[in-house]
């Protein structure tokens, strides 16, 4: 038997507590909406300095690193693809993550690709990417992915073929390194930038990682390169076509009909190419293949 | 004459008082006396006299400023001596998350008994203090009197030759006090030495072969109870109810106190019968006649030259 005053208290709680929670939740939403205005980007970071974060972790650096890695991934995901996006926080986040856990390989590899990638996919700071990867190599000398990432950076972004070759060569000497790294070292040294080599490098990046974001970028780049290559050839064929027909073709179907090509040239997504009024080939707007801004064919393919 | 059970040799204890520049307060001053083997010895004194301090010194809970003591010939510095003593602290506290049985079993583990012998002793002593039924109740649910009884049980469980009890009657109802008295007498019959402290004179008178009286840290006297406390019952107290309309004789009225329907009259022992006659004359109803026992407080007042203080109503129930 409970007394009347106890019963009153119980009922007040049963009714009052959910109501109050609902009111609090509603108020929270309102506050959040209003607060958006003055929450700057810096909110992402909490603390900017790697050493300050280390001190705050009280020895539990490994877990703090995981926390910052998660924030890095979320930060990238929320900014990627948005036109005009800047990735100011990407470097500090990666810096803190790798300072807290110097053996977190995934962070170095992520940074190698997305610190150097031009917007809207990355921060376009190849210098920082190189710095990050070199730090990673110093802390993890037994890891051969990182030298291959360094090689990638020199080859693809900086077009410094000698340095790239050196990086691949150094990496190939690490026990367990795959044989293609030695081959790559030789290829790059011999031939400098080439489409073949570029495709190989991006393919190896794809194969060597589980990171979905990095893999996606690799696919996009390789398909973009294919498209660029196709477009180069198609532009030449379009000139042929005009010579014969007196006007530019509308799509690659026309080239086929004119007997200039055997099959119908399609992009990696299966769409036939179309031509602009100036005779330059383009991707069908419905195609999922994209040519990222700044993507170019390596120099030798221009021949 | 065998060696004394307890020898206290010049025990002195000073306490620092105050925080910034502590002064020393002497709570025990050069205390010396003996407790003989096999006797029940009462340690008397008002609250704050130093009785508990003395017992804590004997048990090694605090350390003397000077002097020492021996129990059965072994110094109080000798931890091995503790196998021969049982101790009940003043206002005992025990691990409140244990049951009575568990507590006794825990303490019993410090003597070398086999598991079965331990069990046996625990049960026997629980019964002896009347707690068999409450054996599995957690001590946090025990009343003060029950805790006191558990305390006595753990003090005697290992049949020590010397039993030291600090205020064993405190917190007990009259039934409990009688039980404790019986236990003490029982221990004596077994030939053990019992050293206990109290500030209730009648208990000491009833149980002890000898007593020591302590006041303000100094020993006032040692001997048989009657030798040491010479105040006998000198006064008698009569409790009456007056009849409607019948007042007390004026002479008596001066020595009486009225509380509601009852009146209390204090008279010297010699005048008892004549006063009763007078009361018969005014047809007062006699409720009780009892001797007024001096308390130790009275005793100490006379010691220091004052007169006995007025006694309050609550002491009628003593």
């Amino acid at each position: 038997m409970i007394s009347p005053s106890q019963e009153r208290a119980l009922w007040t709680a049963v009714v009052g507590v959910p109501l109050l929670f609902a009111a609090i939740a509603a108020l929270q939403i309102k506050i959040d909406a209003g607060a958006q205005a003055y929450h700057g980007e810096d909110e992402q970071l909490l603390l900017r300095s790697a050493s300050a974060v280390r001190r705050m972790s009280f020895g539990y650096d490994a877990l703090a690193a995981d926390f910052y890695w998660t924030r890095t991934v979320q930060y990238y995901g929320s900014h990627a693809g948005i036109p005009g996006a800047k990735f100011d926080q990407l470097w500090p986040l990666l810096d803190i993550t790798t300072t807290l856990d110097p053996k977190l390989i995934v962070a170095y590899r992520f940074g190698a690709v997305f610190l150097s990638e031009p917007p809207p996919a990355g921060a376009e700071r190849t210098d920082l990417a190189v710095q990050l990867v070199k730090r990673g190599m110093a802390e993890n000398p037994e890891n051969w992915y990182l030298p291959s990432d360094l090689g990638f950076l020199y080859y693809w972004r900086l077009k410094d073929y000698r340095a790239a070759s050196e990086a691949y060569l150094a990496g190939s000497k690490i026990p367990g390194a795959p044989s293609w790294m030695r081959i790559m070292a030789a290829l790059v040294a011999q031939r400098g930038g080439s489409l073949e080599t570029s495709r190989m490098i991006w393919t190896e990046i794809y194969n060597s990682t589980q990171d979905k974001t990095v893999r996606q970028r690799a696919i996009t780049t390789v398909r973009g390169l294919r498209a660029l290559e196709d477009e180069q050839q198609l532009d030449a064929l379009a000139q042929e076509y005009r010579t014969r027909m007196g006007h530019f073709p509308a799509s690659s179907n026309d080239l086929h009909d004119a007997g200039l090509v055997r099959g119908i040239p399609v992009d990696p997504d299966g769409f036939p190419y179309i031509f602009g009024t100036d005779g330059k080939s383009q991707l069908d707007p419905r195609s999922s293949v994209t040519i990222s801004p700044g993507l170019q064919l390596p120099s030798d393919a221009a021949q | 004459m065998s060696a004394p059970a307890i020898e206290i040799l010049g025990l002195t204890k000073d306490y620092p008082v105050g925080f910034w520049r502590p002064k020393m307060r002497r709570s025990l001053d050069n205390l010396s006396f003996e407790v003989r083997e096999g006797e029940v010895f009462g340690f008397l004194g008002p609250n704050g006299a130093g009785k508990t301090t003395t017992m804590k010194l004997l048990m090694g809970l605090i350390f003397p400023t000077s002097g020492t003591a021996r129990i059965r010939g072994r110094s109080i510095d000798d931890i091995g001596m503790h196998t021969e003593i049982g101790y009940l602290p003043e206002q005992p506290y025990f691990y409140d998350y244990l049951t009575a049985r568990e507590l006794l079993n825990y303490y019993a583990q410090f003597s070398n008994y086999s598991a079965s012998e331990r069990r046996e002793r625990v049960e026997k002593n629980l019964e002896r203090v009347g707690l068999s039924a409450a054996g599995d109740v957690q001590l946090r649910n025990f009343s003060k009197g029950m805790l006191q009884r558990v305390g006595i049980a753990q003090a005697i469980l290992h049949d020590p030759p010397v039993v030291i009890l600090d205020e064993p009657m405190s917190g007990l109802d009259p039934v409990g006090r009688r039980e404790v008295r019986d236990i003490i007498l029982d221990l004596r019959k077994q030939g053990r030495t019992v050293f206990f402290s109290t500030h209730i004179l009648s208990d000491a008178e009833m149980l002890c072969d000898r007593v020591a009286v302590l006041a303000s840290g100094k020993l006032q006297g040692v001997g048989a109870p009657r030798e040491v406390v010479t105040l006998q019952a000198q006064a008698m107290e009569i409790l009456i109810e007056t009849r409607e309309g019948r007042a007390l004789p004026a002479a008596l009225a001066g020595q009486s106190t009225r509380i509601g329907p009852r009146t209390r009259i204090t008279v010297p022992e010699q005048q008892l019968y004549s006063v009763l006659e007078e009361l018969r004359g005014c047809e007062a109803r006699i409720l009780s006649v009892s001797p007024v026992h001096p308390t130790l407080e009275d005793y100490f007042f006379t010691l220091v030259g004052g007169s006995a203080p007025q006694r309050g109503l609550e002491e009628i129930s003593r």
């Binding site: 490994a62 877990l63 690193a65 053996k103 995934v106 990682t209 | 503790h82 005992p92 998350y97 003090a155």
Partner: protein
Amino acid sequence: MSATIGPVAVNTFREAVRDRVLYNLVLFALLMIGAAILVGQVSIGIEQLVIVNLGLTAISLFGLVMSIFIGVGLVYKEIERRTLYSLLAKPIHRWQFLVGKYAGLLLTLGVNTAFMTLGLAAAFFFVGGRVARADVSILVAIYFILLEFALVTALALFFSCFSSPMLSTLFTLGIYITGVFANDIHEVGEFTQNAAVLWLTRAIYFVIPNFHNLNAIAAAGHKEAIPLSLIWQNTLYAVLYATLLLIAAAAVFSRRNLK
């Protein structure tokens, strides 16, 4: 000797259990379950690493809280509540009482950690981890955490012998945090020009227990082998230091007048 230390230790363990200290395991379980479920959604490619890092960090933190909060009351509570009086009347030395309390709290921590290890293992398998030889480094990391507990408990016990729980907590926590950054403090000193600072940092480095060396969580996460020599050295370090603290505690406590 074990006739006196043993019962005290077991009773201390029993007190912890009845004080429902082990309920912290429920919180730990919830944490690991939550993490195991969420980690797949959030961190790419490092699920096992996160589980190991989180689990070991939680084991360390929960246990530290327990070492400190129960440790600072080990002796203090018994004095305040006067439960010590009847105990010391038994044939038990004061130092045996101290060692018994210490052993009891370590036993509690050991049991707690054992259950947590099982929880961690469950979460680990749930996110797809498979047992490999290299995973023994996780067990080594847990062992180091136990050594950490042994040191912190000894510290807390020492302070418990003469100071109040609040002060003892502050002291113990302060020493622990300093010990975590022991190597950093040492480095700062080595780089400075000031001789006084150098000697001060060196003194701190050698006096304060070094908790940094006992943290093998990162190594465990990356499945790095921890050399046997380091295991022995850390064990010896913890044993020596804890012994030192227990001896100091016994010295302080042996002449203390109980109120």
